[in-house]
């Protein structure tokens, strides 16, 4: 009895810091955001008294579906591109010799040493009508001189893929590094072609790394604000830009909260769905945690 109760106490002690962090720095602020969405705004940019469904109604603004749709497909396409590019990179990294691997990993991480903003401005320069990429593509007759590379959804997509790619490579590499590559030989020995062994054995073998990569790309991609702001223009706006406009330009906090709540739900619901599905399959696998 005594030992059991002490165990309980210890459990609480160990959990307390992270629990505190989760409750006060995540759960409570999130709930506040949800709550503010049901408050009226006052004329001075503050929050008025009482409760209202005004914000909820204004979310019906015909501009929003386009932006929400764009936010969703850009994020999903970004995630897809990152996974497609990062998986072979992770595979190659894991199969490279120790010394080269260090060099290549460094190359993956090196961009972080330059400010995020500067790198995006660099892309703006590259994609600019007078920029290098545009000029070379026109020179090669791949695009017409009138076409614009900047200020559209595809510019946003390109820069997002560039930005989030390292975040996808790292977890996939971490999983691939633990993968037992002899299993691929075993599969080929049993009659699988190379691509079959990769598809049926390698990908399931690194599935946790893939899930982690999907989450760490998809979630920040949905909340993108700086990238569409700099290279997107009005045709590349995402939900993050709208939230910022509501706060800084319209000074309408409830409206910004409503949009934020929408975004949070868009992230949480798929996540919960994945968790429930995985539990149903009988493998209560934590998504982020790497397996032993």
């Amino acid at each position: 009895m005594k030992i059991a109760s002490r165990k309980k106490v210890n459990e609480w002690l160990v959990t307390a810091p992270s629990l505190f962090w989760l409750v006060f720095l995540f759960l409570v602020p999130t709930l506040i955001v949800f709550a503010i969405a049901f408050k009226p705004s006052d004329l001075y940019g503050g929050i008025g008294a009482g409760w209202t469904l005004e914000t909820l109604r204004s979310l019906g603004n015909p501009n929003y579906p386009i932006i929400i749709w764009r936010t969703l497909y850009l994020s999903i396409l970004t995630t897809a591109a990152c996974i497609v590019l990062a998986t072979p990179v992770g595979y190659c990294l894991a199969r490279t010799g120790q010394r080269w691997r260090q060099v290549l990993l460094l190359l993956v991480i090196v961009p972080f040493w330059t400010s995020f903003l500067i790198r995006i401005f660099a892309w703006k320069t590259l994609l600019h009508p007078e920029g290098m990429i545009k000029k070379s593509l026109v020179f090669l007759h791949l695009i017409s001189p009138e076409a614009s590379l900047l200020y559209n959804a595809w510019a946003v997509w390109l820069v997002m893929v560039y930005t989030f790619l390292p975040f996808a490579i790292l977890p996939i590499y971490a999983a691939a590094e633990k993968f037992d590559f002899r299993l691929l030989e075993a599969a080929q020995d049993l009659g699988a072609r190379r691509w079959q062994s990769l598809l049926y054995i390698f990908l399931p073998g690194i599935r946790r790394g893939l899930w982690t990569a999907i989450l760490v790309v998809l979630i920040p991609a949905l909340g993108s604000y700086v990238i569409p702001d700099i290279v997107g223009g009005p045709n590349g706006e995402m939900l993050g830009n709208k939230i910022a406009q509501r706060v800084f330009v319209d000074r309408n906090l409830p409206h910004a909260s409503g949009l934020s709540a929408l975004l949070i739900l868009a992230v949480l619901l798929p996540l919960l769905a994945v968790l429930v599905l995985q539990n149903k399959k009988g493998r209560a696998a934590p998504l982020i945690e790497e397996d032993a």
Binding site: D180, R182, L183, A186, Q188, D189, L190, Y200
Partner: protein, 393 residues
């Protein structure tokens, strides 16, 4: 009988090491054939060349009359049991076994029937839906066997399949492997460094060292008539003596001069001429050790020795005796237990006798023999643990 699986002058280099050095080997259909040798001798390389994971630098591999050297692994009718089993961790036992047939797009009903048949063969019907991390080492081993056999390979390759199991389980799996071989009747190519496994399972054994095949033969042939000092030392225990042929007696026998010994009579089937330097190899169980001088015919050698150590091992006793500079291992079976018998003890002087036919002369021909001259003899396998801690050399 036509040779079923043939290695023809196969060579393979990794950097400067020769993993396979002009190896030629032919294996009969249905045979249980072992490649035996210390780690790094190239036996696994041969296996990987056969499976298609390595390309030979030279030579070719023929299977059932067809040159398979250039085929990719998935096109070869051979399957491998890997040392670590290499079961797919995300698939159940059932799915692991079904993998080969699924890849080959086998119709569903046939697939299910085959998997069930395999599960019965390895007696794991009730474990079919467990994942590999939920079953024991011996069960994993059996799943690996079933997964390979379901493809009906022409040759089953086994890469040290018992190395990861404990002793008791290994003994049981040995019997099971033997039964499975009898039941399915396909050719087994078995790679191991454990002479006990190779001896008890194989129809024939190829002993390998440094990428070369030292000897091919039935287990008894290799043990009783080793063709090189490496084979003599690697298979079982033996004692080596450095000698020189003093003179040839009749055709079949010769006298050997060994430093500090009276002249030794030795069987000389290889007709080694006078003046040649040789190793004389005598297995520990071929000696007769006795307190009284035994009465024997002229074909026996007989000399005095001093007992330095006695190790009682239940089935037999192991004596370390000294003659001059040689420390010699001698086994003696306990045929009867007699209470009134006075056993031979430490520091006694005894007679050591052996028949001339029980000594084998091996030519001293390679630098690799150098490491064999240090007595006591070397051996790979668990049985030498018993005297490691007693013998500082």
């Amino acid at each position: 009988m036509a040779d079923f699986l043939v290695f023809e002058n196969v060579s393979k280099h990794f950097g400067t090491t020769r993993a396979a050095d002009n190896v030629s080997l032919s294996i009969r259909k249905g045979e249980f054939f072992s490649l035996l040798g210390p780690s790094g001798c190239g036996k696994t390389t041969l296996l990987r060349i056969l499976a298609g994971f390595e390309q030979p630098d030279n030579g070719r591999v023929m299977l059932d009359g067809e040159d398979i050297s250039a085929l990719p692994p998935h096109r070869r009718k051979v399957n491998t049991i890997f040392q670590n089993y290499a079961l797919f961790p995300h698939l159940t036992v059932w799915e692991n076994i079904a993998f080969g047939l699924r890849i080959s797009k086998c119709p569903r009903q046939e697939l299910e029937a085959e998997v069930e048949r395999m599960l019965r063969l390895i007696q794991m019907e009730d474990q079919a839906h467990k994942r590999p991390d939920m079953i024991s080492g011996g069960q994993k081993q059996r799943v690996a066997i079933a997964r390979a056999l379901i493809n009906k390979p022409q040759v089953l390759l086994l890469d040290e399949p018992l190395a990861a199991l404990d002793l008791k389980l290994r003994q049981r799996m040995l019997i099971e492997l033997d039964l499975i071989h009898d039941e399915v009747g396909i050719t087994f190519l078995y790679v191991t460094h454990d002479q006990g496994e190779a001896m008890s399972l194989s129809d024939r054994i190829a002993v390998m060292d440094r990428g070369r095949i030292e000897q091919i033969g039935a287990p008894a042939e290799i043990y009783e008539a080793p063709r090189s000092s490496f084979v003599a030392a690697f298979i079982g225990d033996t004692n080596f003596f450095e000698g020189e042929v003093a003179d040839v007696v009749e055709n079949e026998y010769c006298r050997l001069k060994i430093e500090g010994f009276p002249d030794v009579l030795c069987f000389n089937d290889k007709q080694i001429g006078k003046g040649n330097l040789v190793y004389l190899s005598i297995r520990p169980e071929k000696f007769i050790i006795s307190r009284e001088e035994p009465v024997v015919d002229g074909r026996h050698n007989k000399m005095r020795a001093h007992v330095e150590d006695v190790i009682y091992l239940g089935t037999h006793t192991k004596y370390w005796v000294r003659i001059q500079d040689y420390r010699i291992a001698v086994f003696r079976q306990h045929s009867r237990f007699l209470l009134d018998e006075k056993p031979i003890r430490w520091h006694e002087d005894v007679w050591l006798t052996w028949h001339a036919d029980d000594g084998f002369m091996l030519e001293r021909y390679s630098e690799s023999d150098e490491r064999l001259t240090n007595l006591p003899p070397q051996k790979v396998g668990e049985n030498n643990l018993e005297d490691k801690d007693r013998d500082p050399s």
